[in-house]
Symmetry: C2
Subunit: 456 residues, 2 copies
């Protein structure tokens, strides 16, 4: 069987790439209303590709927001069913001026595809589509496969929860498989066993009712920039511990054993710093870099703006200043609760002279998966087969907001089999996905289905 899959993939290598590039050319930015038509165009293309690749049926299904694409290949109702989740929407491409080539004009350079969405998540979910094609065309498929490819992951999946609730039967499966994360390296394959939760808010600070001359009024009227800065600065104490009361209350502390296991994962701090161009790492005192992104909740300012930001000088005391602030959450923290803490922190700490409004952008719960499930074992064996090395279980720093809802509604565990790398520039200019990883994913995924069918 190995040979048939491999031969088929080799013969169709160029087309597998071309099809991914075509997806990448559609600017399906879910956060920006100007891309509404692109979102639908992308959904239609995904549907067509599911049909072309072997699905018995596929459709673009409406939600209150951007549509969901659903597809399925039912081999035999008695066989186990794998639900593949992915998303066809992408992050905004700004700041555009830092891209070396157009974010929606994919370029291949040194074995990497540069484009927004290449790794997150078009390139990754599409591996599953091409894996399906491989298994169908070689007549070697031992599971039923369902696809749930949504269009709102990057804005917190606000409508997917009710979609899933309304389509429980359709989505029923024995395991959920997601490729929307990364591994340590090709030499050190890993499987994520958790994702952090997310609370994302926007803050607006208002001083005077209009922009003022900083000479005439400077020093006598509160400056919203200064006071917003004060509020953001005060979020972390001198040990970079978050000061917001109650922030750590529900955190389940990692055990000594888990921390020891994490410490054994390969990590070269010098290489990490060199690759990022930083002199020092930064973070909460008492924790290692991997712990800071894996087992600790964090708060980051994702954006700030106010006053004059153009060329040259303008002596203005602005009326307003804004920030986007988000927290990453770890098991047992609740996104709703932390969002409320964040909003309260800003609104109730409004310094004298300004008013503060804070509002939720979106959130998502943290999620952990056990390493003794059938799905995890199948994934580990698949990786072992194609990488020749047992994968290390690690906790990922990112968030997939829908995980906890998927598990709750469908009663099924999630397996994270990500083939990206941390340096793929997700959410950043020059996002890329290595061709080697793309093809390795397509090669590995059929083994997951094979082993999962045996385990089940």
């Amino acid at each position: 069987m190995h040979t048939a899959w491999k031969d088929y993939q080799k013969q169709n290598e160029q087309r597998f790439l071309d099809e991914m590039l075509e997806l990448l050319r559609i600017p399906s930015v879910s956060a920006k209303s100007e891309h509404k038509d692109d979102m639908r165009k992308c959904a239609e293309l995904v549907k067509q590709r599911l049909l072309d690749s072997g699905c018995d049926k596929a459709e673009v299904m409406e939600t209150a927001g951007h549509p969901v694409v659903y597809g399925e290949k039912i081999v035999d109702a008695s066989k186990p069913t794998v639900l593949v989740y992915g998303h066809y929407d992408v992050q905004p491409a700004d700041p555009l001026e830092l891209w070396h080539s157009g974010p929606f004009e994919p370029v291949i350079k040194e074995g990497k595809v540069y484009a927004r969405g290449s790794a997150d998540d078009k390139g990754q979910f599409y591996m599953h589509v091409k894996a399906l094609e491989t298994m169908v065309k070689t007549g070697d498929l031992d599971t039923n496969i369902k696809f749930l490819i949504e269009g709102e992951e990057e804005v917190g999946s606000p409508n997917l929860g009710s979609f899933v609730r309304e389509h429980k039967d359709m989505l029923k499966a024995d395991v959920i498989l997601i490729s929307d994360s990364s591994m340590i390296s090709m030499e050190n394959p890993s499987l994520d066993i958790g994702v952090r939760g997310l609370s994302y808010i926007q803050v607006e600070v208002t001083g005077a009712n209009r922009d003022l001359h900083s000479g005439t009024y400077g020093g006598a009227v509160a400056n919203p920039i200064t006071l917003l800065c004060k509020m953001i600065a005060d979020i972390h104490d001198e040990n970079n511990h978050v000061t917001i009361p109650g922030f750590y209350d529900d955190v389940v502390e990692a055990t000594k054993e888990e921390r020891e296991l994490m410490a054994r994962a390969p990590f070269d701090e010098k290489e990490y710093k060199d690759e990022l161009g930083i002199k020092e790492v930064w973070g909460e005192k008492g924790f290692t870099t991997n712990e800071r992104t894996g087992i600790r909740p964090t708060v980051e300012a994702n954006g700030i703006w106010g006053g004059y930001t153009g060329e040259g000088a303008k002596t203005v005391l602005p009326s307003k200043a804004y920030a986007k602030v988000s927290a990453r959450l770890v098991p047992n923290q609740s996104s709703d609760k932390i969002s409320k803490l964040l909003i309260d922190y800003f609104e109730q700490n409004a310094p004298e002279g300004v008013t503060v409004k804070a509002e939720l952008h979106h959130g998502g719960e943290p999620y952990m998966t056990p390493i003794d499930s059938k799905g995890y074992r199948a994934a580990a064996k698949a990786i072992q087969t194609t990488f020749g090395k047992e994968p290390v279980p690690v906790r990922g720093g990112g968030s997939i907001p829908i995980c906890s809802i998927l598990e709750k509604e469908l009663g099924t565990k999630i397996i994270f089999m990500g083939f990206g790398l941390d340096n793929d520039n997700l959410h950043s200019p020059n996002e890329k996905y290595n061709l080697e990883n793309y093809y390795k994913g397509i090669e590995t995924i059929p083994y997951f289905h094979k082993f999962f069918a045996v385990e089940s």
Copy 2:
């Protein structure tokens, strides 16, 4: 003589206004290179107007930056000479979306001209041009008048110092008269006796060498927004006193007498707060609002930006964050010295994990003028004549960077006879200049010349 001036002005009222509007229609924004041609167009129009209004000669003169317009009307070498300084450049109009009408499409509403530059300073320097016309056309001019109208005041007059040094003879005068400030109100006319100095810098904070995913890296790599906020927040202590070491070292404290005199100037805090839409005033503990803008040096953040500032959410840990920060200075502080303190404050306090670069935009020295000079007496008598009330001497909060250089190079005191109001929205959206103030200025200025000729 009063009647002749008044009659002439009445007859030409509409034209005086139309000519001002024509000036306002040229977007002469000195800070933005895209307006280079507009700057020259504006200079040429000013020159033509000086000639049309009675100057014997006028020319557009080159500098290393935007040109200067010079004009003169020499009546008799034995008579005293008044040098009028003003500027034809304006502040950037951003944020454009807050303007009720186009910043360069002047609109008259309820007796006010709304346009960028209406009060600062096109509408104000042009009062002097129309005052010249009044005196020339009625044959009643007792002084020589020179005009120095520059194009770089809003960017700190970087080239005017050397221009003045190279043209000392041409600019020689017995007094320098400037209308580029405001009075308390039409009921409480005032004369500025000082302007604050300025130090304006831009700060760039860099963390990682590229934007990062805030999940993958958040909490483990320094966030330049957070650390910039910390540095800005730390500029003021809990009493809103500036903490930068050495900042207050050279400040000449106002005497008890001067503070008592200031306290007598009419000021209604409730009205001030209502007009600005704020619940509380803000500022350095131990000083009144007028003292905070008049006799105290201050530091303001004029702009801040970094990370994602668009619609919706983007979970990015940015590579860079920026701020524009300026200080207003009071007598005896040196702009060079304070600029260096500000730059050092940011560069030498760079927290671990980020690098900080700060650079000077521009600066200007504080300036004070005595109230017992011939010029001040002439201005006070002119105001008394047309307003029917003796003006109060006050210290203005704004800056005119060139003042100290003009005095030093030309050996002549400066008189500030501003006809604007604090609520003219200088440097802000919807800048306006009241028609009443414009005409009152044109009415008052000839008396200054008349009284100055008598005093001299």
